[in-house]
Symmetry: C5
Subunit: 354 residues, 5 copies
């Protein structure tokens, strides 16, 4: 949760429920993208006024209305009125610090999800996307242009796959599937990051303190987890819902997304377990390095401290130190010292310190 | 749990159930605030005697009776009698060490919550607030004046939003929503504290022992968690309850508060996970610091201990040490020592200790 | 589990089910206390023979029979026969290493709880208490005299509160409430102990090893937890039970005890989390202390080892060391050494080691 | 899982389901023990051929057939055919690496449990025991002779307790109760071991590395836990089962065993929590020991390194060191050194290092 | 998840659901193995074209069609069309990064499992296997030839066991049982690895850093766990499913596999708990080693530093050091030093440092 988002939330506190306040910081002109199709015909339209899409509510054809620019709350309010969307839903749609969720109303089904992506500075960002499913239309609302739905636009335009022959529920499925598929990129990126950190910890030459990196990655994983975990529950609710807008034939597809969300959740959990273990690894590695340093100190000190003492003995100025006056005593002493030196080396060797 | 509260609880032990004993330490004169309204009319009244509000029980209009000063247990008892509140409920209302909870009675619904705030010394405080919902009235009981309901007072007075056109259940929702909204402030404060501590740990120049700070923050988080966690369950029970006082149309609003309580719980959990990890970070940082200290000691000792030994050798007073008498042996020895010095520096460089 | 209790259990292994063996070590003469009352009359009797209370089974009045001295298994067997208590229940009643539990039989409801108290040596003790609820009587069985029921005796004698106007189920509630209320004392004591240990860890001057104290307190907390946790489930079962002996009007009271048991469980859990964290705190504190010791060693050694080396140089006995013969070279060397000394102090200051 | 057992399992992999392969390593001659009784009569028989017990299937009396020697798979197969035991059940009975479980078949109820015991070398062993309950008989199958059922044999022979007046379900209960009772011994042994280890850690004089002992005990506890935990579920299933072979009157007894299994599980869990904590204790103790060692080194080094430097100063051979020639300078220097020595001792005292 | 698999998944993102894309990296020519049997007759056929097996769909006999080579997606698509397999199922079958799962369709039951094996480089590999159960046939699809089903082929060919007399559900059971049985090998291998690591940690002579090995093994265990854990749920779903293709008589066999999967899960959990403990063990061992090193350093330094100081005293060049001129003062000093030496050795002995 960055400071911006948190500050924005303040604007909301104490507001009348149902007041539309955009809590994000992206300001864009409203742009509306509209696909109206059935198996035979397709209308693909761009417009800037919500009033231009009101008439799709009544058509028999399937309509996908994609709205970019949540900051235009007045327009969104007008849209909500036209399509019978509850003001609480509209409030949730423009409040981008919403937790992913599903709400069933009599007239529609509201699904709020997060798209995750890494921005140019390699910082993980999330963008809220709301999907409204009703009899013959799906409305999607995003903060800004740019999303993961290009392949769906292609499929509609080129009439690839079942999409043109299916209802609005299949369209909803296709959109959620596209969002979920994109999570795989994030999971891969995170897995790479964890593995890189592992390599750094085990192979590092310098004694760099990686605990901050581990901590940051842990935070990132926890953030992703928080975004992804509700997904499982949401899709499960769609599957279990007895909403009239969900065709039983679509259930097999929903279940397929459910399997994907399970797999993504497990991958993020696995990464979480690995990153928690990494801190311990790092501490053990540091302890081990320190051990090595201590050994060198101990060997040097243990060898030379006694030798220095002996040299000190014969540096004393007593009048009567008989050894000082023998002709070869210096050389004998050097010999004794050499023997001591070799003996201690041998001892350390045996102790496996060398 | 501060010592005051704990001491107060003693007064209760062994008491007859249904005895009203205020366990807090705030003593205030009773003050009653009263809003009686429907979509057309509004009566906004202040009074000091509970008897002044008894007649609202029978009116068709919606009444919000807000009572400050739980220490006036006799007055509260009288109020309870007049509004058919069970003595067990009254006992819970004045016992401020109550766990947040919901109790369904035939005549009313009792919700007990905590308001959290930081006092002037930046110490986290909680104040208990009880909400009684019945057909046409909501009674709220607080320890002292000062609360988070000003926006609701405004909405009633200025007839903003749906509040004047809705029943007592919507009023209850609005009050709980205001309390819940306020938790966001607390969560933000805690998130800031955790992030500050992170900064301190990773960037600290001095080797300050932060474990006490971490421990205190952990305690604070656990305390908040304990206050906030029952909220989810309470709101869930309101949603699921088949109480005749809850209009089905209000359920969507209740569910919205439920989503908020979920989000708050997740945020506090996230903070809890972060603070638990911080202790490990701190220990790793300390270990790393120690490592650095050890390296300096090791380098200095490893370089100078052997050199000192050599100097000791030629400080010995043997009669026959031939080297002592050559003209340039001193300079040669200095040279050898310099070579040893450089050699060891190179060795440490290669070992990445420098 | 102290050795006594464990040894006692041996006596039971291999016994025929339904054999009454007292597994405690308190031997007392049987004493029976008996309250027979309704709203108008009260008989308050002490006796020593179980036969004296048999006739209460048939009376319409409410009777509380409190039996002290579980070691008198023969008498308890006779009592069981007279009141239709299953031998398995009797076996559980006298086996004091029983886990707290509730058993529903056709004729009665058996609740086994533990009273916790600190004895004169401040050692935590638990005493088992069994409560049998039937149509018009409650039988309580304790190991020895001395309990937490004095306030209830007063209420019966002085006809305070609802107790004289209520059935045996309210009496059961009042007894369980008294036991539960007493747990608050224990929780407070434990909270104090945890907080004292916190203070010791953070403020300790000496490097005392507190790990044993932490370990002991952890064991105590786990023991209390084990005693208190089943309570929640027991009271929940009473609430949910469709026993004919529980009047629906008493349910509100039972639910109140349930709230208390929840609160007690949470407090003990909070203490458990704190004590688990304390060990980490303690280790960090110890590491930090060691760090400080290491720093002193490093500073002293790093400063004086090079200086000693220099002194060693000029203690060598080479014939030709020109510096030795200049007039002020000694003073210059002292100056150089002082500069080195100051330089190193400055370095450590900058490294924040001083 | 020792290597023997694991190797034995190989024999099974790829076998046709229902193939009887004994996976243990005990080879014994088949011995059959047979009790046929009702309240009036008792036949107590030993035999070696399974055919000798086939006729008990049809009798009205209760029969307990105890078979030792699972390695005689052919005989067990014949027995299974005679008593209508499914080959999958027989396969499970002779596969001693079976997880404790309960299987309900139309004709019988199969319960597989483990008896735990310490062998002569104080190594924990488990022996599998299978119990088959049908209308009028119970068949138990063990690997070898020697079990925990002697008290039940006595009860049958001497007509003690209810056993001779009850059905086969009560016999099953009595057998399971005997096995469960025996677990108390194991729990006590483990509790003793954990407490001994605690004593060793806290009172140890030598710096012995106890981590291996802790690890071994942890493994033992995990092994016991794995054996004991399914018990709770098994007994619960017996209680809940609507098997025609379980008389409702026996349910109270089954519930009693259930309480025991709960208590045993909790004890083993408590031990597990303690042993997990012990490792931390041990590490803290080791850290503390190291601290003490470091302090001694620091004190000695910090005191003598500066003093040695001073002595080195006056060991230098400069021509002009004025101090050397004053009459009492040697004694003054000794005095200064003594003052330094005392001063440093005082400093360490104040720092609580001494 | 190795890089290959992850890269392959990219190919899938954005594809139309129901598009068959093989995500593995094994490219094999399609080979089909076909067993068509009932109790009287058996046809055992190898072929390369899917069209050759289409006619088995209509036969009354039981048919097992085993297909190797998932990369031949076109052929698999044709097969799917012929046997009425949903394209989503076909997509899952060829997407080898599928999570193990079960899907119930009207016409068939799809089970996706993983076979685990160690390749020649002792690296753990998993291969996906899909099993389709319908009225009279089972289709299995594998990435490449080579599997764990040889014993089943033998049983069909030699009419061993019940397989030739049972339906397709029994064949499914036999195949799953073979896969599950094979997991025991993996568990044994992992148990051996954990035990080897334990031995290395406790008995290691050199101070090798094993944290990387522990980490790798942990990853391997987590990977296996992820593969094996869904198995329990899958088999449970088969047991609970009311699929018309599962004969009630087969349920006992399914339950047997369920018991196996429980046992395997528990074994892997046990290994997981052990490996998590091993890191702590390793850290304690390292700490202990360091302790030992520190002791040697401390002993040597503590003994010789004071002695060296004394020698330094008498190496000073003061004019007036009376002790220097006594005849035996050198020898007396040596004696004093020897006493100090012995005294300190005694002190360390008493402190248990030697």
């Amino acid at each position: 949760m960055n400071k911006n988002k948190r500050k924005k939330h303040h604007k909301k506190i104490g507001q009348i429920p149902g007041t539309l306040i955009y809590t994000g910081d992206k300001t864009n002109k409203l742009s509306i993208e509209c696909f109206d199709y059935n198996s035979n015909q397709l209308e693909d339209k761009q417009c800037n006024k919500v009033e231009d899409v009101f008439h799709y509510k009544a058509t028999e054809t399937i309509t996908w209305i994609n709205i970019n620019g949540l900051n235009n709350t007045d327009e969104i309010y007008k849209l909500g009125q036209a399509f019978n969307i509850h003001t609480l839903s509209l409030e949730d749609i423009v409040n981008i610090s919403q937790r992913p969720k599903i709400d069933e109303y009599n007239d529609y089904l509201l699904v709020i999800l997060k798209m995750l992506y890494y921005d140019n500075n390699n910082v993980l960002k999330s963008e809220q996307i709301s999907l409204i499913l009703s009899q013959n239309f799906v409305i999607t609302l995003q903060e800004a242009e740019g999303d993961v739905f290009d392949s769906i636009r292609d499929r509609i335009r080129l009439a690839k796959g079942k999409i043109r022959n299916s209802g609005s529920d299949y369209l909803l499925y296709a959109l959620i599937d596209a969002i979920t598929d994109h999570y795989y990129y994030i999971i891969e990126k995170i897995t790479d990051k964890v593995e890189n950190l592992e390599d750094l910890i085990f192979n590092q030459k310098e004694q760099k303190n990686l605990s901050q990196d581990i901590h940051q990655l842990k935070k990132e994983i926890l953030k992703i987890r928080r975004t992804i975990f509700p997904l499982r529950e949401i899709i499960n609710k769609i599957e279990k819902s007895e909403s009239p807008y969900i065709n039983p034939k679509t259930i097999h597809y929903i279940r397929d997304v459910y399997d994907h969300s399970l797999q993504i959740s497990e991958s993020i959990e696995l990464n979480r377990e690995m990153i928690f273990g990494l801190m311990d690894m790092h501490m053990t590695t540091i302890s081990n390095k320190m051990n090595e340093v201590m050994k060198v100190l101990t060997i040097i000190a243990t060898i030379f401290i006694p030798l220095t003492f002996i040299a000190g003995i014969y540096g004393m100025n007593f009048d009567n130190i008989p050894e000082l006056h023998y002709k070869y005593s210096y050389f004998m002493l050097l010999g004794i010292m050499a023997l001591l030196f070799i003996g201690m080396l041998y001892y350390f060797k045996r102790k496996k310190w060398l």
